[in-house]
């Protein structure tokens, strides 16, 4: 009973907070409230780890989503801290008005709610609704500055996202249709636990078609090339905390959904193996994004492309499959979320400090803001897969195990990794070094969330606690 209470708390707390924040005019208080609500949600989700409710008709907590729910609420919490100090600056510079700030906070909690709902849903329809809600809230937030660029980005995101939603829905309906003869009409044919258990009895060709639509639908949300087009603009034009959440969490939610459906496909012996498809899309995303990093001139767009790159790696890892690669994929997802959100925090600081998003306008950070530069460098090296950070561990496992299995694929993977690394390093050096550019305002926001994330990523690079390992391993086994 307590467990299901926690479950509801995880979802209802953000929802309630959203309602409250929408009504609350005092923006200072509301940002505090935002932090508080995020913290409570995080606490509830942590508690969920220990008291796991039985799978219900609508909701489910199992090994797979437990990782993501904790991760989501945690990053939601740290981002809310960052956002509290960041958004005040936006208000000072007049980029936002208090009214919009109210809207922003409400939307933030609504997004949290949607993501938690998507992760906890035991129902493919519910999950779809939740992902749609998450998309819509982020569309709102991307357009919040109401500049030409942000409106355009939001519009692009909205249109492409809506099409993605539509395709995902069709896939969902097809899954239902495939399941319905085997498990009967109604809710059971949409419930994950039932679907997975009876997957073998489903009609394979129908599942195949369904998966194509789901892959395209949720792949759009995940930003897999060539479905990625909305992602760079949405990241670069929205408020930075939202970029952090988009990259760190929303992409994960989409990948999570894909993983669930992949499980379903794996459960059916006759359906095609989604592995090669995911590998192809993953490699395409990786290589494409790696090369797209070079001509970037906007710092946030740069890291948006880096997100595409990493989503590609993750899709690749799960596509390869097997104990090692799945483990690597899960670890990579976790580490990428933490690192990428930390990067966007730092980028937020840098943009505030230098007053521009143009990379050419940012130089000499190491001289003007040593601490920020240090954090930034660490973050970029972490995302580039240099040790001793966690992404190195996952890339190590992925590259070595893939090379042993299939050297050509690993070669392409390596090409993408090294090309991406070169681009990131090029841009990093351009921003860190040289003569300090003008406008050395001290950023007001706090660096603490960055260092919390970095500490976790660093620790994961050196030492993964046995429970976490066991947990990842069981999920990796589950994914096949």
């Amino acid at each position: 009973m307590r467990a299901s209470l926690l479950l509801y708390a995880t979802m209802l707390m953000p929802l309630a907070a959203a309602a409250l924040l929408a009504a609350l005019p005092a923006y200072r208080l509301s940002s505090l409230l935002n932090v508080f609500a995020a913290l409570m949600t995080f606490a509830a989700s942590c508690a969920l780890l220990f008291e796991r409710p039985a799978a219900g008709v609508y909701f489910l907590v199992d090994d797979l989503n437990a990782v993501f729910i904790v991760l989501t609420t945690f990053i939601g919490f740290t981002t809310s801290i960052f956002s509290a100090s960041y958004i005040a600056h936006e208000l000072e510079t007049g980029k936002l008005t208090p009214l919009y700030l109210r809207f922003y906070h409400a939307m933030y909690q609504l997004l949290m709610f949607a993501m938690n709902l998507a992760l906890l849903a035991n129902n493919i329809g519910l999950m779809w609704v939740a992902v749609e809600l998450a998309t819509l809230t982020t569309v709102m937030m991307v357009g919040i500055y109401r500049t030409h660029e942000s409106l355009e980005a939001a519009w692009k995101y909205f249109i492409l996202g809506s099409v993605g939603i539509g395709l995902a829905l069709f896939g969902t309906i097809l899954v239902y249709l495939a399941a319905q003869p085997a498990v009967g009409e109604g809710l059971p044919a949409m419930t994950w636990t039932v679907l997975i258990a009876n997957a073998a009895k489903f009609d394979a060709p129908l599942l195949n078609i369904a998966f194509v639509f789901l892959l395209l639908g949720y792949g759009t949300k995940a930003g897999l090339a060539p479905l990625h087009a909305w992602l760079p603009d949405a990241h670069s034009e929205g408020p930075t905390p939202i970029s952090a959440v988009l990259s760190g969490l929303l992409l994960n939610v989409a990948i999570y959904a894909l993983l669930r459906f992949k499980l379903l496909m794996a459960g059916n012996g006759e359906a095609f193996t989604p592995g090669p498809l995911m590998i192809t899309l993953g490699l395409l995303s990786l290589l494409f994004a790696a090369f797209m990093l070079y001509p970037r001139r906007d710092i946030k767009r740069l890291f948006a492309y880096s997100s595409i790159e990493h989503i590609g790696i993750i899709a690749f890892a799960f596509g390869i499959g097997g104990a090692v690669a799945n483990f690597a994929g899960l670890l990579h997802m976790t580490m990428h979320s933490l690192t990428k959100s930390a990067i966007f925090f730092t980028v937020g600081h840098i943009v505030q400090a230098k007053g521009t998003q143009r990379i050419s306008g940012i130089s000499g950070l190491a001289s003007s803001h040593p601490m920020l530069a240090f954090a930034f460098a660490l973050c970029v090296f972490a995302i580039a897969g240099l040790p001793p950070f966690g992404i190195f561990t996952s890339e190590f496992m992925l590259v070595t195990s893939t090379f042993a299995k299939n050297p050509w694929l690993a070669g392409l993977l390596g090409l993408g990794l090294i090309a991406g690394f070169g681009a990131l390093l090029l841009k990093l050096q351009a921003m860190l070094f040289g003569e300090a550019s003008k406008g050395s305002k001290e950023p007001t926001a706090t660096l603490i969330p960055i260092f919390i994330h970095l500490a976790i990523v660093l620790m994961a690079g050196l030492y993964l606690p046995p429970p976490v390992v066991a947990w990842f391993q069981s999920v990796a086994r589950m994914l096949g």
Binding site: V129, L151, I159, I173, Y176, E185
Partner: protein, 220 residues
């Protein structure tokens, strides 16, 4: 008895595909909107029929929504917008309409082939109906990618969504269909009368998407 029931369902679904094709043929915005209204009405009939034969009264809500919202409200609103913006004259297409039509026929064929791989009798909805729904969706997408004008793109999206509703309504006993249709209506409402259109109108002279595109990547 069962035969005629399913024949009517097939007939309605098939006519939805036909209306989709007609939609694709239109070269004026006003007539396009009219055809779209017909599209929505056919959908409403189809969903209503499904509600009747499945004995699922909640589907009537979906049918009413389709009729009232997409069949009447949206076309009217869009019509007014089109008139006010003075863009009702013609539709800029990519490629000729003939080629688009050919592509649409090919898409229909593709839908058939794909769906016929499905084991017969695997679902209560006949495979043909599923194929029709898929065809409507694909044609909707095709319309979105072959029209340069925002309003016709919206129409394309809405017909895509009609295909979805058709499939959802045909899935016997599927929960949440009404909710999903409501959610989609909200989505469309967002697109059509939502804040974006307002904002776009505030800041741009037309809703031609290419105007939006002019600002793309301004900051890279």
């Amino acid at each position: 008895m069962r035969g005629i029931v399913f024949d009517i369902a097939h007939l309605l679904a098939g006519s939805l595909v036909l209306v989709s094709l007609i939609q694709l043929y239109q070269d004026r915005l006003t007539s396009l909107l009219r055809v779209f209204a017909i599209h929505a009405i056919v959908l409403a009939l189809s969903v209503g029929w499904q509600a009747y034969i499945q004995g699922a009264p909640h589907l009537f809500a979906t049918a009413l929504l389709a009729l009232g919202f997409k069949g009447i409200a949206i076309p009217l609103v869009l019509h007014r917008i089109v008139l006010r913006l003075g863009i009702h004259r013609e539709i800029e297409t990519v490629g000729g309409i003939g080629i688009t039509m050919l592509a649409a026929v090919a898409l229909i064929a593709l839908s058939m082939v794909v769906i016929f791989k499905v084991t017969p009798g695997a679902s209560t909805l006949a495979r043909e109906d599923l194929a029709f729904a898929l065809a409507v969706i694909l044609i909707g997408l095709l319309m979105m990618v072959t029209r340069r004008n925002a309003v016709s793109q919206v129409v394309g999206f809405m017909s895509l969504e009609n295909g979805l509703i058709l499939a959802a309504a045909g899935a016997k006993g599927m929960p949440l269909v009404v909710e999903i249709s409501v959610a989609f209506s909200i989505l469309i409402a967002f697109i059509v009368i939502g804040i974006f259109l307002f904002r776009i109108r505030e800041r741009f002279d037309s809703v031609d998407v290419s105007t939006l595109d002019r600002f793309r990547g301004g900051r890279q």
